[in-house]
Homo-oligomer: 393 residues x 2
């Protein structure tokens, strides 16, 4: 009895992936260096040499079961303790190891946190523009994703629309700041207002509403950007982190959940996630990488290229007349398409100029497109002529 | 809205884990060397030095995104191709890379395969004695686990009981050979008969019934044991493999699904699993270990200690009067308790002799106990006196 639901899903192929495959194919024709592929959000900077040293040193440990043995399903206790201490020093929190749950990246973090604090049939709110994978994350868990339309002025939050969406069936709100695809970082004021509205709704409906904060881009913040640590502003909050972008190791699937010590059931959510992991087949994230990120502390790859690329593209594209909300972080920006149909615009960009841009219709924000500028600066520079021909033809 | 289902699960703590925690505590009192801890199925032999060399070499690759970047959610294409080729050479199969799906160990494999070939409400049959984690794997996915009572003569299959259990609601049969906890390996005759009965039931009910073969102990086979490759005997079969035991890397979560090319929808099950992984938060298993196991080929740890320990314990314990079906593989054996209540027997063993044995009530087989002899041979030898005092004292 083949599961027709998943079979059916195969028809709905990701727009990003389709475009990226076309880009690779075009690269085989004209050389990939001549395709301005801004489609994929894969880190473009190498893993820090010091991190590679940590991996090598751990691998050389003669006690191979210490390094490669099962961890508890919640994660290796000393790793969780080390990460709690790091977060406490940095953000003034009071996490203990018991508030941490090690995960296979942010996707694993959301999969577990979502199941711990909602039940089937609950609604989960997110804000457009949003990462399209939220749909399978939430739909396949039997929860319902409610998308609040974008605030297109500055990609913060349209609070009137949020209050309208925040009905009794909502058990969680999922935010992503710094944001994929807009690059926007929610300001302290935005987070405070969000928390205030959610607090009132909790009282009104008499049940908890959890704030799940998806933070894989937390370390990619540009100069002068106000970037509050979301968890500090709302008790029932869970931070979902991944090292994919900060250490350029997206394939190694390592991240964590940090449960606000002030939240409901704070002492057992990590243990509940351990139970959830048995049903999802996770058990524990890779042990070698658990130990490695604990040792790495706040080490990151050299992330400065992303800000360099952002400034280069932002200045040039606004000069060419595009409307862009200036990103505060990530390696994305989301200009408004100069014609109403952004899909048509992106197709034209690809076919005429070998520029691979992603229309953000599937991000809940039609009429815009995403530029993933996690590329070599040299390529970003060369792309400017192609943008010029496209826009000024 | 905290999920009460998972909260409730916290009360049902695993017997194995409780015992193993007690063993560790007792070890702090009298020295862990003096506790004969046969509770946990963690490999006791080191990772092969050659495997460590592979890991170090991969880590040193200057193209860090090649090593640590995202893989496709189905797994890295060249890794899947390499594993398909290895399986074909060894078992005379005709897998292509498209029949492989890389997973986070056997748990991840079962989580995905189960969801691909069954739907909510379906029943899944397994045979006692069985790995107790099958309950959360299957229950939490909304499927129903039906346990066929054990054939206690030789721990093969009680086919009369199987035919009775194989009603129309059954969509899959989950087997584990070599078996945890009995150490039994299903014979070719057993697998043939199983396949024959399932084939007839498929025709009778007019729907497919998949055979999920959980094979983490495949490489631990003792001399003279008939150990058929299950997939060869039944078209609608999926092999679920893990490198946890063969390479002693249970914490690194790496394994795969191999879909029988002859099965229904063979060409899309791996792609379906990719879709399923989006909802479960897996995305892809650790990329470094994907490449490492592809390079490792059929390399294993030195697994001979398990057979040495098995023979030592089997001979000594049968001499002491215990009834034991001689294991054909794994690092487990499952003697019959000399008193009707095996929980009471195991408690006595722990309290009087510091022998940590696991009653197999939760494995669907009360009246027996499991010995996980993945320990140093020296310790297994020293334990014999304690067994003697327990049984003859």
């Amino acid at each position: 009895m083949i599961n027709e639901f998943y079979k059916e899903m195969l028809k709905g192929k990701s727009v990003i992936r389709t475009l990226s495959e076309r880009a690779v194919k075009r690269g085989q024709e004209i050389g990939y260096g001549n395709v301005f592929d801004f489609s994929l959000g894969n880190p473009s900077v190498p893993v820090p040499g010091e991190f590679t040293d940590i991996l090598k040193r751990l691998t050389e440990n003669p006690d191979s079961m210490y390094i490669h043995g099962y961890s508890q399903s919640q994660g290796i206790p000393e790793v969780r303790k080390a990460l709690a201490d790091q977060l406490n020093r940095r953000f003034g929190m009071e996490y203990t190891g018991e508030h941490l749950f090690m995960t296979t990246g942010a996707a694993g973090a959301i999969a577990h946190a979502l199941r711990a604090v909602t039940v089937k049939g609950d609604s989960v709110i997110t804000f457009a523009p949003f990462f399209p994978e939220y749909h399978p994350y939430i739909d396949n868990a039997g929860r319902h994703l409610k998308v609040v339309p974008p605030d297109t002025v500055n990609f913060q939050i349209d609070f009137d629309a949020f209050e309208e969406a925040l009905t009794e069936d909502v058990a969680a709100v999922l935010i992503n700041s710094p944001n994929n695809p807009s690059g926007t970082v929610y300001s302290t004021e935005t987070v405070r207002t969000l928390a205030d509205i959610m607090d009132k709704a909790q009282k009104k409906y008499g049940h908890s509403i959890f704030l799940l904060s998806d933070e894989p881009y937390r370390e990619i913040i540009f100069k002068g950007t106000d970037s509050p640590y979301v968890t500090k502003y709302y008790d029932n909050s869970i931070s979902c982190y991944s090292y994919s972008k900060s250490l350029s190791i997206p394939g190694e699937r390592i991240g964590y959940i940090a449960v606000n010590p002030a939240c409901e059931c704070a002492d057992i959510i990590s243990v509940m996630c351990g139970q959830i992991s048995r049903g999802l087949g996770h058990n524990c994230p890779p042990a070698l990488f658990q130990r490695a990120v604990a040792e790495a502390g706040e080490m990151t790859s050299d992330l400065s290229v992303y800000e360099t690329n952002m400034n280069l593209l932002y200045d040039a594209l606004t000069d060419l007349g595009l409307e862009i909300v200036k990103p505060g972080g990530t390696f994305y920006m989301m200009p408004k398409a100069p014609v109403p149909d952004s899909v048509e615009f992106c197709m034209k960009a690809f076919e005429e100029q070998d520029l691979v841009l992603v229309p953000t219709d599937s991000f809940g924000c039609p009429g815009y497109f995403r530029i993933a500028y996690c590329v070599d600066t040299e390529k970003a520079e060369r792309s400017l002529e192609a943008f010029k021909r496209l826009l000024k033809g």
